[in-house]
């Protein structure tokens, strides 16, 4: 391994780690606000307890998200200084706006978490709404910058220098819309299903806990519509990728040959040597339809591009896993919707609870796989078709050291957060009550 791989690994591990916390920071405030609103409406104390329990968890995740996000903003330069030297002026705008959104989120989260007995109920709910909105806006701006790396616009290139820079056009590049919508839905799905799984798990042990039933209902209420919408948005994203980054699409589907009526492959093992993909279930014309909306249309294969530039095969697998996990979550969502129609919001059968527990990590896994598709599929470019990642990496030797250090730190933080979360679940109602009874 050489420096470029260490740099990419460090950036990758930082993102894989941060994204989880960022998503929780986006979605949890919305769930807390829904729960708090229900408390205002119904005066049911469970909703207040639930809001406060969620707030405690969110505080931990938000703090780790804030500091790991700081690391990322520095790492752009620490690891890829040539990229920032050229691109900083073009994509600085969304980062600055993200700074403001994050500022607002931090301020109002402080008010929300610590202001319970210092401001009125109404103002408290208002602070929560601002946190939810600014959290989502942060994501919107950051993804704009990332989308620009995939489909750079808003400048002219003259002798390797960016001129006629139009930061607004750069923000509104062709990938922004689908990446933003796909990711926001993914954030709500991933967080919502993870929270649902925690409460479903407790309900398996204590099926009559009203508190946990309500918690499960709110998380499903948020996440079910997202999971149902996500395939449509994903299809839209696929069409955009087909148009703007055909090599990425070909890698996702292991489409080696350019052909008309290209099949959609489910699974399969690509072999770059023979340029074939074996063991895949093929739906004739499926890829052509997904990419262009026409079963007979032509799809460009990897053969159109120099083999040295092909993205890693992992892109193919990651894409397949993402779709598979997303499909499972869609299945649970339809099940939940059916339950709503037949039995109302709060009563879920044992089988459903087990299915929900199994789905717990799937949202986050699908999201991470999706990012692997987007970012590894962008390689070997850091700015698509303009600057190669290998040309942007720092001359700093020995990147093995910071890579190892950050990997270990993030592992330790991840383990700690999970153990603290477990203790919080144990401190939730039912467990707490049972401990009291036992004592």
């Amino acid at each position: 391994m050489d420096n470029i791989l260490f740099a990419r690994w460090q950036m990758g591990i930082s993102l894989v780690f941060h994204i989880i916390f960022a998503c929780i920071g986006i979605a949890m405030p919305l769930m807390m606000v829904i729960s708090e609103y229900l408390w205002h409406k119904t005066q049911d104390n469970d909703f207040l307890l639930l809001t406060k329990a969620w707030a405690k968890g969110t505080a931990v995740f938000f703090a780790v998200g804030a500091v790991s996000g700081t690391v990322l903003s520095f790492e752009l330069g620490l690891l890829f200084p040539e990229f920032m030297r050229h691109a900083g002026g073009v994509i600085g705008m969304p980062f600055s706006l993200e700074g403001f959104a994050f500022f607002t989120e931090g301020i109002f989260l402080g008010i929300y978490l610590y202001g319970w007995d210092r401001i009125s109920k109404r103002m408290h709910l208002f602070a929560g709404i601002i946190v939810a909105i600014s959290g989502a806006s942060s994501a919107v701006f950051v993804i704009m910058a990332n989308a620009w790396m995939n489909t750079p616009t808003g400048f002219r290139l003259e002798n390797g220098v960016f001129t006629d820079v139009d930061p607004i056009a750069a923000m509104l590049n062709p990938s922004s819309l689908h990446l933003i919508s796909h990711m926001l839905l993914a954030a709500y799905m991933a967080t919502g299903f993870a929270v649902a799984a925690i409460h479903a798990y407790v309900l398996l042990k204590f099926p009559n806990s009203g508190f946990h039933k309500k918690a499960l209902a709110i998380s499903l209420f948020l996440t079910v519509p997202c999971a149902v919408l996500q395939p449509a948005v994903g299809h839209f994203a696929g069409m955009q990728v087909a148009k703007n980054q055909p090599m990425k699409l070909a890698a996702m589907e292991s489409q080696f040959k350019t052909e008309k009526g290209a099949p959609l492959r489910i699974g399969g093992i690509p072999d770059a040597k023979t340029r074939t993909t074996s063991f895949a279930i093929e739906i004739p014309g499926g890829l052509s339809f997904l990419a262009n909306g026409d079963f007979g249309s032509e799809v460009k294969g990897l053969e159109e591009f120099p083999e040295t530039d092909w993205p890693h095969e992992a892109v193919h697998y990651a894409f397949q896993f993402m779709v598979a996990l997303g499909s499972y979550l869609l299945f649970i969502s339809l099940w939940a919707a059916l339950t709503w129609v037949r039995k109302g919001w709060t009563d879920y059968g044992r089988k459903f609870l087990i299915a929900a527990v199994i789905g717990g990590p799937m949202g986050f896994l699908a999201m991470e796989f999706g990012w692997i598709v987007t970012e590894m599929g962008r390689q070997p470019w850091v700015i698509y078709n303009i600057m190669r990642t290998s040309d942007s990496v720092t001359p700093m030797p020995g990147l093995f050291v910071p890579m190892t250090v950050f990997t270990l730190i993030y592992l330790a933080l991840g383990v700690t957060v999970i153990s603290i979360l477990r203790r919080h679940v144990k401190a939730s109602p039912v467990y707490a009550e049972r401990t009291k009874e036992g004592a």
Binding site: M84, G88, G92, F95, F100, F103, F108, P167, M396, I409
Partner: protein, 336 residues
């Protein structure tokens, strides 16, 4: 007429001052956590934690704002700093990550007693590491130890930041933040004894600040002569120096007389003036002596939009910050 690039650099300086005054004091709190002592050890720690908890994340964002302005407005400077100062910046980041994480873990662990000591130590140590390396980095871009040619630093990865001058600025930063924290903490409680604990700490750390100011000044005469020459010979220097000195003496005197509100104002003024003096001597360079503000600036279209966004953002940011501090820092203290 002041150029767009200078205007943006000034905004970044304001951000840096805000970070020092707010985020810096939170780091200082970490130092006082590990140095908590005497009969009120536990209560000192509770006071520190309670004062920092609602605001540290918002305070921390000032640093992100500064760094984002740097890489959006002055990309070549950001790039060169990131290469030459890779190691101290990474160490600072590790400090920042561990400080925030450990502070939150300690506070939110439902079985706090088990882990309190470990997280407390990590919180305190990282609160010292982060500002130390922040100071080291600032000193390095001032000293002239980073040489840049064609946008790439040529002075290696250690030489730019290892030196007595850089280390003394690092310690100066730690002392300054500890001083700020101690002064602020006198106003976070109505408990007379606790106030006195932090009054003594403020007085001692104030003296340490003076000591490091002197050491840094002496080292600058050897290691950062250009910087020092400008600091001592420009027309603005004497009003600024005298202002800084008066603020420092005033802060001391008002601490002595237990005029804590005045002390807080003067301490903050002192720190702000130190940074203004540093920036004025640094001007027109971002990295002395090879990268100037004007040459490193992004295209005007970017700078203009950034400044517009900043001006608009202020209307959201300042009322929000005002509300935050009004809620938590309006003098309605509670017993510890």
């Amino acid at each position: 007429m002041i150029s767009l690039a200078d205007a943006l650099a000034m905004v970044a300086l304001v951000g840096l001052i805000a970070y020092a005054l707010l985020g810096g004091a939170d780091f200082g709190g970490g130092l006082w956590d590990i140095l908590a002592s005497g009969p009120r050890t536990a209560r000192q720690r509770v006071l520190i934690e309670r004062s920092i908890a609602p605001v540290w994340e918002a305070n921390h964002v000032w640093l992100i704002l500064v760094i984002v302005l740097l890489f959006s407005g002055f990309p070549p400077a950001f790039s060169a700093m990131s290469i030459a100062l890779h190691i101290p910046l990474t160490l600072m980041l590790i400090g920042i990550v561990l400080r925030g994480a450990a502070f939150t873990f300690r506070q939110y662990d439902p079985e706090r007693k088990k882990s309190e000591i470990l997280w407390g130590r990590v919180f305190a140590l990282s609160s010292i590491i982060a500002p130390f390396f922040l100071g080291v980095c600032l000193a390095s871009i001032t000293q002239g130890s980073i040489r840049v040619s064609n946008g790439i630093p040529t002075t290696g990865f250690f030489w730019p930041w290892i030196g007595w001058f850089q280390f003394s600025v690092g310690l100066f930063a730690v002392a300054l933040f500890a001083f700020l924290a101690a002064v602020y903490l006198t106003l976070e409680t109505d408990d007379r004894e606790l106030q006195d604990d932090f009054r003594i700490r403020a007085l001692i750390s104030g003296a340490v600040v003076g000591f490091f100011a002197l050491v840094t000044g002496l080292l600058a005469s050897e290691h950062a002569q250009e910087f020092q020459g400008k600091l001592l010979s420009s027309w603005w220097t004497w009003p600024l120096q005298i202002g800084t000195g008066l603020a420092a003496i005033g802060a001391f005197a008002s601490l002595w007389h237990r005029e804590y509100r005045l002390a807080r104002f003067l301490a903050a003024t002192q720190v702000s003036l130190i940074l203004v003096g540093w920036a004025s001597s640094q001007h027109p360079f971002l990295i002395y002596p090879d990268i100037r503000i004007a040459e490193a600036a992004a295209p005007d279209s970017t700078l203009r939009l950034l400044l517009i966004a900043l001006s608009a953002g202020v209307f959201v940011l300042f009322p929000s910050l005002y509300w935050l501090f009004r809620i938590f820092k309006s003098g309605k203290t509670r017993s510890v």
